[in-house]
C-alpha cells in the first residue's frame, strides 16, 4: 500500500508543516502536518471545532494569524496574501458557499479570474451542472441550496487552479444532490484535479477519497488510507464520536 501511506513516494503537491493558526486570541491550530500528492483526493475528518475549516482557511491565507509552512510544488506560501495564494493555483469553496447576492448567477460564475491555463470551459461546467445554465440571469442567492453549491464549485473550476479546497460541499443538501456532487468530485479527480475535502458526512467521504486525515484539537492525530477503512472503522468511530 505504498501509494496510500502518509509518506508519499513522490514530492507532494501540497505540503503543510507545523501549521498553527489563531482566531484573534484563541489558538486553534497546533501544528498541522499534511501531504497531498498531485491528483489525490484527501479528506479532513474530525469533530466540530477540531480545526478542519480553519486548516483550509490557513492554507488559503484568509486566516489573519498563521505560522508554519505551506508549500505548493515546493513554493512557500505561508507569508503571502490570499490573492497571491489563489494565483499560485489554489481555490477555496467555503462552507458558507459565499454566493454574492448583488451578482447574477453568470456574474458569480465568471467572477474568479483565470489564474492559470487549463481550467474547465464554461460549457464543461454547464455539462456538469445543467441547472446553472438555465438560471444564469437569476440573482445568485435566489438559487436553491444545491444549486448554490454547484455554483460555488463551478466557479472555481474555470480558473485553472488545480488544488481545490472544498469545505463541506454536501452540508444540508438532499441525497440526490449529494450523489451529484460525489460524481462531480470523482470526475474532477479523473481530470487530474487535486482535492482537499472537509466532510462531516463520513459515508460520502469514504466514497470519494483516497486518504483520510483525522484532526483533533488542531492536530492531525491519524491518517487512514481509504483502502484500510474497514479495519479502522472502530477506531474512526471513536475519533469522531459517532
Amino acid at each position: 500500500m505504498a501509494e496510500a501511506a502518509p509518506k508519499l513516494d513522490t514530492a507532494p503537491l501540497l505540503a503543510v508543516r507545523d501549521l498553527e493558526g489563531w482566531y484573534g486570541e484563541s489558538h486553534v491550530l497546533h501544528g498541522i502536518n499534511l501531504d497531498v500528492a498531485q491528483g489525490e483526493v484527501v479528506t479532513l475528518l474530525g469533530r466540530n471545532g477540531a480545526g478542519k475549516t480553519t486548516t483550509l482557511k490557513a492554507i488559503m491565507g484568509i486566516l489573519a494569524k498563521r505560522k508554519g509552512s505551506v508549500t505548493l510544488n515546493g513554493r512557500e506560501l505561508i507569508g503571502l496574501p490570499s490573492r497571491d495564494i489563489a494565483r499560485a493555483g489554489i481555490a477555496l469553496c467555503p462552507e458558507e458557499r459565499a454566493i454574492f447576492s448583488s451578482l447574477s448567477v453568470e456574474e458569480n460564475l465568471m467572477l474568479p479570474p483565470r489564474v492559470k491555463p487549463g481550467g474547465l470551459s464554461v460549457e464543461q461546467i454547464f455539462e456538469m451542472f445543467p441547472n446553472l445554465k438555465e438560471r444564469l440571469s437569476s440573482q445568485g442567492t435566489k438559487l436553491s441550496g444545491g444549486e448554490q453549491q454547484m455554483l460555488a464549485i463551478g466557479r472555481i473550476l474555470r480558473t485553472g487552479a488545480n488544488l481545490l479546497l472544498l469545505d463541506e460541499p454536501t452540508e444540508g443538501l438532499a441525497p440526490v444532490i449529494v450523489q451529484q456532487i460525489g460524481a462531480t468530485i470523482a470526475m474532477l479527480k479523473q481530470q487530474g484535479f487535486t482535492i482537499v475535502l472537509v466532510e462531516q458526512n463520513f459515508h460520502f467521504a469514504a466514497s470519494v477519497a483516497d486518504r483520510h486525515y483525522v484532526i483533533e484539537l488542531g492536530k492531525v492525530i491519524d491518517t487512514i488510507p481509504n483502502a484500510e477503512l474497514e479495519e479502522n472503522i472502530e477506531k474512526l468511530h471513536a475519533y469522531l464520536g459517532v
Binding site: P81, R83, L103, E107, L111, P112, P113
Partner: protein, 295 residues
C-alpha cells in the same frame, strides 16, 4: 391650470430647472459617497472639500495655465482623484480595521484642513469662472428661457450618473466591486487585488466630486465654502436614498432637487428645510432609506 394655481408658468419651470440643476449636483455627489461607502465602509466627509477642490483646480488651470473649461473637465477629475488616492493610501487605509467613526473623524478633519488652506490662500469672496463661449446664451423654449450652460450641466450629469451606474452594475470591474462590497475576504481569495480595488474606488468617487465641482464652477462662484454648504444636503440625500445603493443615490438626487424646486414655488418658506423634513420622515418609516437594503 397655471392660472388656477395662481402660479406663472415661467416661475414654475424656472424653479423646476433650478431644482434639476441642484439635483444634478446632489446626484453626482451622493453617487460618489454611495460608491465609497459601499466598498470602504467610511462616510467620506471630505467629499464637499473635494468638490470645492474640483472647482478651484479648474479655476487654477485657467488662471495659471490658460487651460480652458474643456481641458478642466478631463484633467480635474484625474488630478483631484489622484490626490484622493494619496489620501487613501497614506491615511484612510490605516483605519479599515477600526470602527467607522474613525474614518468619519479623519475625513471630517481633512475637510476642515483643506477648506482652511484654500480660505487662507484665496479668501471667502469667491473667484469668478466664466461660462465657456460655446455654452453661453440660451434657447427660448416658448414657455421658458433655457440657458445653454444649465442644459449642459443637466445632460452632462445624467450621462455621468448613468455611465457610473453602467460601470458598476453591468461590467466585469463593477462585478468585482459589488462582490468586494459584500465579501472582500472571498474576493481576495479568488486572486483579486482588493486593496487596489479599494484605492481606485476612492479615487473614482473623489474624481466624481471634482467633476461636479468643474460643472459647478461657472454657476456658483468658486469659493472655499461651496462644498461645505452643499455637503450637508447631500448627506441628507444619501440617507433618504439609502447608503450604498447606486441607482437610489441617482434617483433620489434628481428627485429631491425637483422637490426643492417645487417647494420654492408653492411654499418658499419651507424650501430650505424640505429635504430635511423628508429625511426625518424616511428615517421614521424606512430607516434603511428608500432604496436601501436592510442588512
Amino acid at each position: 391650470m397655471f392660472e388656477l394655481l395662481g402660479i406663472a408658468p415661467q416661475a414654475l419651470f424656472g424653479q423646476l430647472l433650478l431644482g434639476l440643476i441642484n439635483g444634478s449636483f446632489y446626484a453626482m455627489l451622493s453617487l460618489g459617497l454611495a460608491v465609497i461607502f459601499g466598498l470602504l465602509n467610511i462616510i467620506n466627509f471630505t467629499h464637499g472639500a473635494q468638490y470645492m477642490m474640483g472647482a478651484f483646480v479648474a479655476w487654477m488651470l485657467l488662471t495659471y495655465f490658460g487651460l480652458s473649461y474643456w481641458w478642466a473637465l478631463v484633467l480635474v477629475p484625474v488630478i483631484v482623484g489622484a490626490s484622493g488616492i494619496v489620501i487613501e493610501r497614506l491615511m484612510i487605509s490605516r483605519l479599515y480595521h477600526l470602527d467607522h467613526l474613525y474614518g468619519l473623524l479623519l475625513t471630517f478633519g481633512l475637510a476642515l484642513i483643506i477648506q482652511g488652506l484654500f480660505r487662507n490662500q484665496y479668501g471667502v469672496s469667491g473667484m469668478p469662472y466664466s461660462i465657456p463661449p460655446e455654452l453661453q446664451g440660451g434657447t427660448n423654449l416658448g414657455f421658458m428661457f433655457l440657458p445653454n450652460y444649465r442644459a449642459w450641466v443637466v445632460v452632462a450629469s445624467v450621462v455621468v450618473c448613468f455611465g457610473t451606474w453602467f460601470l458598476i452594475e453591468k461590467t466585469r470591474l463593477g462585478a468585482y466591486l459589488r462582490a468586494a462590497t459584500e465579501n472582500p475576504t472571498m474576493v481576495g481569495a479568488f486572486g483579486i487585488n482588493v486593496p487596489r480595488l479599494i484605492t481606485l474606488t476612492y479615487g473614482f468617487g473623489v474624481g466624481l466630486a471634482a467633476l461636479a465641482g468643474v460643472l459647478a464652477a461657472p454657476i456658483y462662484s468658486v469659493n472655499p465654502n461651496m462644498g461645505a454648504d452643499l455637503i450637508i444636503i447631500v448627506f441628507a440625500v444619501v440617507v433618504i436614498g439609502g447608503m450604498g445603493s447606486i441607482m437610489g443615490a441617482i434617483l433620489t438626487g434628481f428627485g429631491l432637487g425637483l422637490v426643492e424646486g417645487l417647494a420654492r414655488v408653492f411654499y418658499p418658506e419651507g424650501s430650505a428645510v424640505v429635504i430635511f423634513v423628508i429625511m426625518a420622515i424616511v428615517l421614521l418609516i424606512k430607516p434603511a432609506g428608500l432604496f436601501g437594503r436592510t442588512a
